[in-house]
């Protein structure tokens, strides 16, 4: 590459980062304005104010507790989805059994029904089995929304792994399970961690089920609590507070991505068995 064109990729990077961050930046500055100049359109808020953040963490709305709930629900969902999704994907990628395509089709079919229409029957089911106001009532639906993508994505990944690797491992005396755990899984790490991030974010942001199956304040997740934020008067929608809360719930995910992104770049480039 010639010296003159070296800046082109950086320009591309800058454009893409700006595209992604500009609306988020607007969210950030809106959250830092005082409630009274919330519809100011200066790019930097003057004066800076933490008013909205104080309102978010105000003791009365239980936001901190709801963050904990969100972590619990999204975390358990992610672990379970990875666990059972990986097993299923491995079977679909490596085992040759009848009805494989049927299973694949059934799994993806469940992603085709409008989620909104699942709500009332699901609610009836959960009231019937006494799951209202429980964590599992939020975890299991989130799992079912995340599983189809997880299974399909992981299957595609396992398929991409050269068969010879497992064969070599088995010649070395590994059982299929060992070959899978020690050879395939580390190599598929980018896929696994990507799936983890996507599942976690989807579960973290799930709103309508969490809103409907739980009515105890201490079990509610962050998006539900945010929807309950109010302004000082009727009709006054607490925009600054909502934006501040939006920033607060987005940051943990960004940190998570920063931690996991190393794993995403692991994979074949890291070479061989871990």
């Amino acid at each position: 590459m010639t010296g003159r064109r070296r800046w082109v990729p950086y320009l591309g990077i800058a454009v893409i980062v700006a595209y992604c961050l500009a609306p988020f930046y607007w969210m950030l500055v809106s959250s830092l304005r005082r409630a009274n100049d919330i519809f100011d359109s200066a790019p930097v808020p003057t004066p800076l104010s933490l008013e909205s953040y104080r309102a978010v963490f105000g003791s009365s709305n239980g936001f901190v507790r709801s963050l904990g709930n969100s972590f619990l629900v999204a975390g358990i969902t992610t672990v379970l989805v990875l666990l059972i999704g990986t097993l299923t994907a491995y079977a679909l990628a490596r085992l040759d059994f009848r009805f494989k395509n049927v299973v694949l089709a059934v799994i993806i079919t469940t992603s085709m029904f409008p989620g909104i229409s699942l709500l009332v029957p699901l609610l009836q089911l959960f009231s019937g089995i006494g799951w209202i106001n429980t964590y599992q009532a939020m975890i299991v639906p989130s799992m079912s929304f995340a599983l189809p993508l997880a299974v399909w994505n992981l299957t595609a990944f396992f398929k991409q792994m050269p068969l010879e690797l497992e064969e070599a491992a088995q010649i070395d005396g590994c059982t299929p399970a060992q070959a899978f755990r020690k050879v395939i899984l580390p190599l598929a790490a980018p896929g696994v961690f990507t799936t983890a991030i996507i599942t976690f974010i989807a579960a973290w942001n799930e709103f309508i089920i969490a809103l409907s199956v739980v009515n105890k304040q201490e079990l509610k997740t962050a998006p539900v609590i945010i929807s309950q934020f109010t302004g000082l008067t009727q009709f006054d929608s607490p925009f600054g507070t909502q934006m501040a809360a939006g920033v607060v719930v987005t940051i943990p995910l960004v940190v998570l991505v920063l931690l996991f992104q190393r794993r995403i770049v692991a994979g074949l480039t890291a070479g061989g068995v871990k």
Binding site: A35, N36, D37, F39, S60, L119, V120, L123, Q124, S127, I132, L211, S212, N215, Q217, V224, S227, Q228, F229, T230, G231, L232, T233, Q234, F235, D236, S237, P238
Partner: protein
């Protein structure tokens, strides 16, 4: 269509209940005893109060006070999202699963018919509540087929906010009619850059139903007549809608006002962009704030809504408390509602939240009037207000109204086309 024919044939009487009409007078017919006589409200013990989030924090104080006086009948507050549609959705879902999780429901006044007809809320005995001390118009919103299903706790009525400074300077009195309003605008607005004449709530949502209904009522017409039949073919209905449509055409209503809900309009008013604004009373305190957020503090006043030939009439807002049919401990729920609707609690609520009470005497209390100067106008507004159609299919009626008003105001259909189509839709929705 087989079904529709059957439906229309079967029910000539009523779906709509505006006014007494066909079903006046009679109560409790013997045929359907279980459903029509007030259910026995018994059971004492803990209950829940289901409501949108409490704005002032005063609700929790009131509940705490109740709880310390009734340790065996504790009330737990279940908070729903801030958005009214989402609140209604949660309450409907709870009813559909027949869950006893919800006890006392804080219902918007326009939901009464739907919740009553589906028997999601229990019928209440009139005698248990101080109904005669409440504004009569608000009690009407709690009735369905003459029976009481809820108790009004807060009310609301539209007011005309106007720039007193500019009107006084031009020597113009607050307008009582639309013609006077137009004349005032023509005199004042041209010399005020960036200002437009009038706005209300014109985004396509419930607020537009309110503004359309008010326009038609203020022209002397009605959306649905006394007999429950839609009456949008009338000349008054045409003139009512034309007030809004001509406003947009002539620029008296700014184009961007078509995106206004309550808050967008309030911001425009506070920024000095509006001479007149149809708004709920909550704007009074906000627009008078002297912390720099409002450029019109001290420069405005309120008047009743104007009409075609004289004062207009507002639509009624507010909330009523009802008891979920699936709740346990209905006796406690009833006692708690009595406690909440009482003068003492309503006074405290007004002082803390500035929400319009339903207790009539509070509007004439000199101390309160001094603190909330709009109370006198608000009482007039509520007393002459008309309730929005009280129909089971209110949501569909409201959607049809929004569709008609929105298309006429954005110019995609004429006033006549919009009203003809709306009349047809309402006839089929009401079976008339």
């Amino acid at each position: 269509m087989v079904v529709r024919g059957r439906v229309r044939g079967a029910v000539l009487a009523t779906v709509l209940l505006l006014g007494a009409g066909a079903c006046g007078g009679e109560t409790a017919p013997g045929t359907d005893a279980g459903a029509s006589a007030p259910a026995v409200l018994d059971g004492v013990g803990p209950i829940s109060l289901v409501t949108g989030k409490d704005i002032s924090g005063n609700l929790q104080n009131q509940v705490d006070e109740w709880n310390s006086a009734h340790p065996d009948q504790k009330v737990t507050v279940i908070e729903l999202p801030e958005d009214a549609d989402a609140q209604r959705q949660q309450m409907v879902q709870n009813a559909q699963t027949k869950s006893d999780a919800y006890g006392v429901l804080n219902l918007d006044v326009v939901w009464t018919a739907e919740f009553a007809a589906n028997q999601w809320v229990a019928q209440l005995p009139d005698a248990e509540f101080p109904l005669t001390s409440l504004l009569p118009a608000t009690v009407e919103t709690a009735r369905y087929f003459k029976r009481l299903y809820a108790v009004p706790t807060t009310s609301d009525g539209g007011l005309l906010f106007y720039r007193k400074d500019l009107l006084d300077a031009a020597g113009v009195a607050p307008p009582k009619t639309w013609a006077e309003l137009s004349a005032a605008c023509e005199k004042i607005v041209p010399s005020q850059p960036g200002m437009s004449c009038y706005a209300g709530q014109f985004e396509k949502y419930e607020g537009l139903t309110v503004n359309f209904t008010e326009a038609v009522n203020s022209a002397g017409g009605s959306v649905v007549g006394e007999d429950g039949k839609p009456t949008l073919g009338s000349e008054q209905a045409r003139q009512g809608l034309n007030f809004l449509v001509d406003g947009v055409k002539s620029g008296k209503i700014a184009q961007k006002a078509r995106t206004f809900k309550e808050e967008e309009g309030r911001r425009a008013f506070q920024a000095g962009e509006l001479l007149f604004h149809r708004q709920w009373p909550y704007q009074y305190a906000k627009a008078n704030a002297t912390d720099g957020s409002s450029t019109v503090a001290g420069k405005f006043a309120v008047a009743p809504l104007p009409g075609l030939t004289g004062p207009g009439s507002s639509a009624l807002g507010g909330h009523n408390f009802a008891i979920s049919s699936f709740a346990k401990n209905k006796k406690t729920a009833l006692d708690f509602i009595r406690y909440m609707v009482d003068e003492k609690q309503q006074r405290a609520n007004l002082e803390k939240t500035s929400q319009a009470p339903t207790w009539a005497a509070l509007y004439d209390d000199p101390a309160l009037v001094a603190k909330f100067p709009y109370l006198t106008q608000l009482k007039k507004s509520i007393e002459t207000a008309k309730k929005r159609p009280s129909v089971v299919k209110y949501q569909e009626v409201s959607s049809a109204i929004q569709e008609a008003a929105y298309s006429a105001m954005s110019g995609t259909s004429t006033t006549e086309q919009a009203l003809t189509s709306l009349q047809g839709k309402l006839e089929s929705l009401t079976g008339k």
